[in-house]
């Protein structure tokens, strides 16, 4: 049975391909490069940022360094009304975004994949229960749900991330389930069953490697959603008060009348940073789509 050997032995190789191949797509390549820049910035934040992002700074004349314009007193992007360095906040904001984006994406992809695998493979009551749960998750208004959980629990990034994951697994779960349904009836899975492989072994060895690219696809979309959602939560004032995030910066600018004072240098950069990182996720997911569904690829 050539089918069996090819699929079983190439499991790891397939995962590797799935992660690596979108490089051939110019969109995905651009996305990956943006991610690389973003990850380096987040990791090296203390080295790149000239100031502590929360430190209240003073000018050489011992005045509060508030509302400085870009370039004044050596502040690349100027300072906030409280005298904090805007560029340093942007750099440190990458760290919050990275943390939120990747943990939320991992949780979404993990929960969604497990639900999809169980529902698709076992079918019957398991499938019915899990898919009704997905229906309920689709009925929950996403942002309001995250707002309520974030506001009523301890203000921390983790509660926001968990609230997001509790709802967002729904798309991944449904798509992976239908993929598993079609995989389950393939020859090599039937063959493994006839030989007497256990359900667990069939799921892990024969089915999971084939759905991993889909998990990555939905994970890379979830990174963007998570960063946008965290920004909204922080902007509305329900975020972690100890974390400097791009959403927090925008809330600070909005509450400090930066709009009326036309302090564009304050509220434009955090928005551009968010757009850059979120669209990088979209670009990568497009690359995956072209790879996974060549019919759609154009």
């Amino acid at each position: 049975m050539p089918d069996t050997t090819i699929k079983a032995s190439s499991g790891v190789a397939r995962i590797f391909e799935a992660i690596k191949l979108p490089v051939g797509d110019p969109f995905a390549l651009a996305g990956l490069l943006i991610y690389a820049l973003f990850i380096v910035t987040a990791l090296a934040a203390p080295l790149i940022a000239p100031y502590d992002p929360t430190e209240i700074l003073y000018t050489a004349d011992y005045d509060l360094a508030s509302d400085l314009l870009p370039g004044q007193e050596g502040h690349i992007l100027g300072t906030t009304s409280l005298g904090r360095d805007i560029f340093s906040q942007i750099v440190w904001g990458a760290r919050s975004a990275l943390l939120v984006g990747f943990t939320a994406a991992f949780m979404v992809a993990f929960i969604g994949s497990v639900v999809g695998l169980l529902a698709g493979y076992f079918g019957g009551h398991v499938d019915a229960v899990l898919m009704r749960l997905a229906d309920v998750a689709f009925g929950i208004p996403f942002l309001p749900f995250v707002i309520v959980i974030s506001a009523f629990s301890e203000p921390s990034i983790w509660n926001t991330v968990i609230a997001m994951a509790l709802v967002l697994w729904r798309d991944t779960g449904r798509v992976i389930r239908s993929q598993v349904l079609s995989l389950r009836s393939r020859g090599y899975v039937e063959a493994a069953r006839v030989v007497g492989s256990s359900d667990l072994k069939i799921i892990l060895r024969h089915i999971t490697p084939n759905i991993l690219p889909l998990s990555f696809l939905y994970g890379s979309i979830a990174i963007g959603w998570a960063i946008l959602t965290e920004a909204s939560i922080s902007f509305l004032g329900f975020g972690d008060p100890d974390a400097i995030s791009w959403g927090f910066m925008l809330q600070d600018a909005f509450a400090s009348q930066a709009l009326a004072r036309q302090a564009y240098h304050w509220f434009i950069p955090p928005g551009l940073a968010i757009i850059l990182v979120v669209s990088a996720g979209f670009f990568i997911s497009r690359g995956y789509e072209n790879l996974l569904f060549p019919k759609l690829g154009r």
């Binding site: 969109f27 009704r132 229906d135 309920v136 689709f138 009925g139 929950i140 208004p141 996403f142 942002l143 309001p144 749900f145 707002i147 309520v148 959980i149 506001a151 009523f152 629990s153 963007g224 946008l228 920004a231 909204s232 902007f235 509305l236 004032g237 329900f238 959403g247 925008l250 600018a253 909005f254 930066a258 709009l259 009326a260 036309q262 564009y264 509220f267 434009i268 955090p270 928005g271 968010i274 757009i275 979120v278 669209s279 996720g281 979209f282 670009f283 497009r286 759609l296 154009r298």
Partner: protein
């Protein structure tokens, strides 16, 4: 009979989902730490006053009893009284709902009109330089935080140029004889413009990308090739045979977009101080006004669930290949 059955099954599922969401809502608001009376009981209240308030909201009973009281009240449309306004929540929500719906539908109509035309145009311009530049730009609009886009538009068109008012639904001190007069007044429309454009710019990406990819699919179908062979002009082929067939799935997505838009409204309404359900939800949550927050959440959930159902049914009736057996 056969067309009625999927409708009934779907409606039944909708009710189940609604019940589940209502239950989650109840648990979310009761099991959270913090005293739900904090916003309502002022430290200056006497002990008797505080006790009366606890009894009034049934908060001294066990949780399961509170749950059934809550379900019973919901069935009668009774959402309790707002802690802050001391008026019925249902009344307040019905007052704000039109503002939210006007914002949602006006922005989606603008977004879909633009998105459908631009999507068809981009499919027509396939593989051109123009397309290569336009696609990343469209994806970038999907990556924008909506509230940030609102802030930028507000700073430019309201604070810098002074073309539009900065927030609210009408200038202070203006009054109108009827709601119709208010909603059609230049004053209201100028207040509506910026938040509407914010949501529209964000939302046009979905219909645009859908329309484009559907057009590319449809243009490969046999009947389009047939039309070309018959010698119809390119514009007749694109509009009469291509666009008409590519349009159906885009229209179905409108229903789902309404649900998503309601969620985006939450932040955009806050930026523009637009008195709608989303802003009310945020304010109520911030002030621990539990009944009002629950009511606003429930109303948004009902619209989302109903729109999901409508999208589902549209799929069934428009595409007979999908069955709900």
């Amino acid at each position: 009979m056969s067309t009625l059955k999927p409708f009934l099954i779907r409606t039944l599922q909708l009710l189940l989902v609604l019940w589940a969401v209502v239950t989650i809502l109840f648990l979310m608001f009761r099991l959270m730490p913090g005293n739900p009376l904090a916003a309502y009981i002022d430290p200056t209240f006497t002990a008797e006053q505080q006790e009366a308030l606890i009894r009034q909201f049934g908060l001294d009973k066990p949780l399961w009893q509170q749950y059934f009281t809550y379900l019973g009240n919901l069935l009668q449309g009774e959402l309790g009284d707002s802690f802050r306004y001391r008026t019925p929540v249902a009344e307040r929500i019905l007052l704000l709902l039109p503002n939210t719906l006007i914002l949602t539908f006006s922005s989606l109509i603008v977004a879909y009109t633009f998105g459908i035309l631009a999507g068809a145009w981009l499919a027509w311009k396939r593989n051109s330089r123009f397309e290569a530049a336009a696609l990343p730009a469209v994806l970038a609009t999907r990556a924008m935080p909506e509230f940030w886009l609102g802030m930028v538009l507000l700073a430019i068109f309201s604070f810098s140029l002074g073309w539009f008012p900065a927030g609210g639904t009408r200038s202070a001190g203006t009054s109108y004889d009827s709601l119709w007069q208010l909603y059609t007044s230049a004053n209201f429309l100028s207040h509506l413009f910026l938040p509407m454009m914010t949501l529209a710019i964000y939302s046009q990406g979905l219909p645009l990308l859908l329309m484009r990819s559907n057009m590319l699919d449809v243009m490969k179908e046999d009947f389009v090739t047939m039309a070309k062979i018959k010698g119809l002009s390119p514009s007749a082929v694109v509009i009469r045979h291509g666009a008409r067939n590519a349009l159906l799935p885009v229209m179905t997505s409108f229903a789902i977009a309404v649900g998503y838009q309601l969620q985006g409204n939450v932040v955009v309404e806050s930026v523009f101080s637009w008195p709608g359900l989303g802003r009310e939800l945020v304010n109520a949550v911030a002030a621990s006004d539990y009944p009002l927050a629950q009511g606003a959440f429930l109303m948004i959930a009902i619209v989302v669930i109903t729109m999901n159902l409508i999208a589902d049914l549209l799929y069934t009736f428009l595409d007979p290949r999908i069955s709900h057996a």
